[in-house]
């Protein structure tokens, strides 16, 4: 029997359609259908000036909006062959890690909601709010911050704000372990999460899983390792696990939060004085740049004539992660409830994913069948 879930459904927070092929309670295979929030961002960006593009890139995704602007800015800085001042790099890393913490909290809370553990769901949201306050203190807004510009960040952080953020983070660190332990050692939570939705390392490589989903299956891959600020300035390590089940993915996110807390403390302790913004002249050219978003690798490829964006392509992590979820994790799942929980554990961000609709020559929607056949609409 085919059981459709969505697009508007109590278990989902974004519109997407899951088609589960079931045999009794058992889920044999699944298909995930998109297309409900496609806005055509890249199409709109083309032909606009890059100053305008950055605001559009911020609205690719609301949960990880920050990293999109950073990647956009760094792509254009690469075209110019420049790097922003060190203080700006530190501030960018600070916001990035704060954003990662809040995003991981919301991802884990969604997972706990999916396995119907309301208590931890509430605790996660409760821990998240002070982090949102920290972001607001630093950038002036909670979600779409408008904080990055090509050449640095929009405004300098005051000493007293940095101190309050340090305080917030220290408080979080003190409380945090208690809740992680709840999940790590709770016997019933373990039963619902361990060995559910398994994906092997081989499958993860085949499906190109990224971020905590890939790292939960043993792929030690974090783009921050190649990023100049993280490589040269901070002391941190990549978190990864081997199990490849829902438990591993959720724990992986928990451990990454601790790592982010460590980075934030280093940022605030060592932040150098200086400018936060410099004037950058963008020449004509092409560049690509990758960054680690909360959900994995996000890549921007952009071409400009020095003023207008001529071509831009954005690849977000969720597109790969949702794909591996449908192909490898949702095979032979014991119950429908577990299938929904597995889908939530992948931390799907549908708004990120939907920038492309593939049409055939007649303008009908089709399956993606190899790059060589694709022609872009002009």
């Amino acid at each position: 029997m085919i059981l459709p879930i969505g697009p508007i459904h109590p278990g989902l927070k974004e519109p997407v359609r899951l088609k589960l092929k079931t045999q009794g309670e058992k889920v044999i295979s699944a298909e995930i259908d998109f297309g409900y929030v496609h806005r055509g961002i890249e199409r709109v960006m083309k032909g606009k000036t890059w100053q305008k593009g950055i605001f559009l890139s911020e609205r690719v995704c609301g949960i990880c909006s920050y990293i999109h602007t950073q990647t956009f800015a760094e792509t254009f800085e690469k075209i110019a062959g420049e790097r922003v001042p060190l203080r700006a790099q530190y501030l960018r890393s600070l916001t990035n890690e704060l954003d990662r913490i809040q995003s991981h909290f919301i991802a884990n809370s969604t997972y706990f909601k999916a396995i119907e553990h309301e208590t931890l769901f509430m605790y996660m949201l409760h821990l998240r709010e002070p982090v949102m306050d920290a972001i607001e203190l630093l950038t002036g807004n909670r979600v779409n911050m408008g904080w990055n510009v090509v050449g640095g960040v929009r405004m300098d952080a005051e000493e007293k704000h940095l101190n309050s953020i340090y305080q917030i983070i220290t408080n979080l660190e003190a409380e945090y372990d208690k809740y992680v332990e709840m999940f790590e050692e709770g016997p019933l939570l373990g039963l619902r999460s361990k060995d559910v939705g398994k994906m092997s390392k081989k499958d993860a490589i085949k499906g190109r899983a990224v971020g905590p989903i890939g790292r939960g299956s043993g792929l030690k891959h974090d783009v921050r390792e190649d990023h100049h600020t993280y490589k040269d300035e901070f002391d941190w390590k990549v978190i990864w696990r081997k199990e490849g089940d829902n438990y591993a993915r959720t724990m992986n996110r928990f451990d990454e939060i601790s790592e982010s807390i460590k980075i934030i403390k280093q940022v605030i302790e060592n932040i150098p004085p200086g400018d936060v913004r410099k004037k950058i002249k963008i020449p004509a050219g092409y560049a690509d740049w990758r960054n680690e978003a909360p959900r994995g690798e996000v890549a921007y490829m952009a071409e400009t004539n020095g003023n207008l964006i001529q071509n831009i392509s954005i690849r977000t992590p969720s597109i790969m992660n949702i794909d591996v979820c449908g192909k490898y994790m949702l095979q032979d799942v014991a119950t429908v409830a577990d299938a929904v929980a597995t889908y939530a554990s992948v931390d799907p961000c549908v708004a990120c994913t939907e920038r492309v609709i593939i049409l055939n020559e007649k303008g009908e929607k089709t399956e993606f069948d190899g790059l060589h056949k694709v022609k872009y609409l002009q």
Partner: protein
């Protein structure tokens, strides 16, 4: 008689369905933030469960994409009378940054379904969303309930 009873009950128990018609989901996570203990939506008798068939209030975020042009009207008609529609964020009001030449959004949402309250902002703060639902929710629902369709 039954209707009058329904009105009274509904006043203190509002069921909410969140419909993202194609935004950046920034507004959606602000609604999720409302569930957190700091704002605690449920203490006001508001319950988010995302089921249009039981909803009294439809929260619309997003700028109406291709797929939603027909589906939005369908989901709206599924919700039982009386119902209130609250549009959250700039997206359903104007289309925000997406509403430009070449994009595939069809804002505003009021072209498709009647909207009772609008909250501008990109995204609006959780407290504003809460205030709007409370301001428009109970009374508007009760008032609408008394007129026969």
């Amino acid at each position: 008689m039954l209707d009058a009873l329904k009105d009274v009950v509904r006043k203190s128990s509002i069921h909410v369905c969140l419909i993202n018609t194609g935004g950046c989901n920034g507004c959606d996570i602000e609604v999720v933030a409302l569930l957190s203990p700091r704002y605690d939506l449920e203490q006001y008798g508001i319950y988010v469960h995302n089921n249009p068939r039981e909803a009294d209030v439809l929260l619309i975020t997003g700028a109406v994409c291709e797929q939603w042009k027909e589906n939005l009207q369908r989901i709206y008609s599924k919700a039982p009378e009386p119902k209130v529609v609250v549009a959250i964020g700039n997206c359903p009001l104007t289309g925000d940054v997406f509403n430009q030449e070449g994009s595939s959004v069809y804002a505003p949402v009021s072209d498709f379904i009647p909207v009772d309250a609008e909250i501008p902002g990109c995204p609006p703060r959780p407290a504003e969303i809460l205030a709007a639902i409370l301001a428009v929710g109970p009374d508007a629902i009760a008032a609408k309930g008394r007129q026969k369709p």
